[in-house]
Subunit: 190 residues, 2 copies
């Protein structure tokens, strides 16, 4: 299992229900659920990506409560997960932070989406490539109705959507992130 | 993939932080996230299990809003997921509902837990057994600090905990449920 994997939750540019490009609000559960999952799978850092300063401040307050404030004493396990979360304005800033953490190397960006695409790779294929690559890797998840198509083009790989036996695939980003990280990094012997 | 799988989210009897046995509160996100995941994987029904009548009523109101109320018009996809959720007082009532749905057959109960146990089965093993069995199956997830040990003994199988590269495994029940259902029912070719 590679040990230099990073996650990013993209709040802009994403689609809203009507197909317009918007910045979504950071939700408390997206911070906590994904941070705990990331910590369980040995993810190095989980970036909350939003250009909105009020949102950056709000998320910063939540993180400080659990990593420095009374929350840190109340629940040290939560502190351990949330101390690996960073709030950044855009993908480029996340990339710079990763490079600073990885001897200047640029992360290979992996986009995830619920929409079908011809050039999407499957999980076992990407897992193999990750095993042969020194990394780092940054796996991006979209909020709202998914990341803008033009933004998705910045990724080196685009993963296939998760699909069940029928056509319904409206997972929350929290569920999708957990499933995707387990498919890429989970112990296949279990 | 078997098509007669049921999920149950157990709110009693579970441990609290101090190890006492309590009934936890139903949370809105546990309803929505797990219902959407269940619908994606073709789960027949998702039972919210709580003996507390005030909690049953609260969950019932949420479900009616999204399946009959204004929420149903606003988001038909959410209606599709939440129409497969039932609130029941205990495991026995869930079993009766499954039997009524499956020509009187009793569900094989699969418990999930973050605690280690000698008799726990691994995912590939249970997946094989499920493929050879006509079902139905009921997969139980615990809230709070996990299901009471004595209650867990009612299950036919106990799955191994999900573990990452280190010892930290404090997933939210929403993340754990998504990962476990994908490991048992997801497309392994992907």
């Amino acid at each position: 299992m590679p040990d230099n994997i990073y996650l990013g939750l993209v709040h802009y540019p994403v689609y809203d229900k009507g197909g317009d490009i918007v910045a979504t609000a950071i939700t408390n559960l997206d911070i906590h659920d994904i941070a705990r999952m990331a910590r369980t799978y040995g993810i190095r850092r989980y970036f909350m990506i939003t250009p909105l300063e009020t949102q950056q401040e709000m998320a910063g307050r939540v993180l400080r409560h659990w990593t420095e404030g009374t929350g840190a004493d109340y629940n040290p396990l939560r502190k351990e997960a949330l101390s690996r979360v960073s709030v950044v304005p855009d993908l480029e800033t996340a990339q710079q932070a990763i490079a600073a953490d990885c001897d200047g190397r640029t992360a290979t960006v992996i986009a995830t989406t619920a929409r079908l695409a011809d050039d999407a790779v499957d999980y076992s294929d990407l897992r193999r490539r990750m095993a042969e690559d020194a990394g780092p890797f940054l796996v991006l998840f979209g909020t709202g109705w998914g990341m803008e198509e033009r933004f998705l083009k910045k990724a080196h790989y685009r993963l296939k959507p998760i699909s069940g036996p029928e056509s319904y695939n409206h997972l929350s980003v929290r569920s999708a992130a957990a499933i995707i990280v387990d498919r890429l990094l989970g112990d296949r012997q279990e």
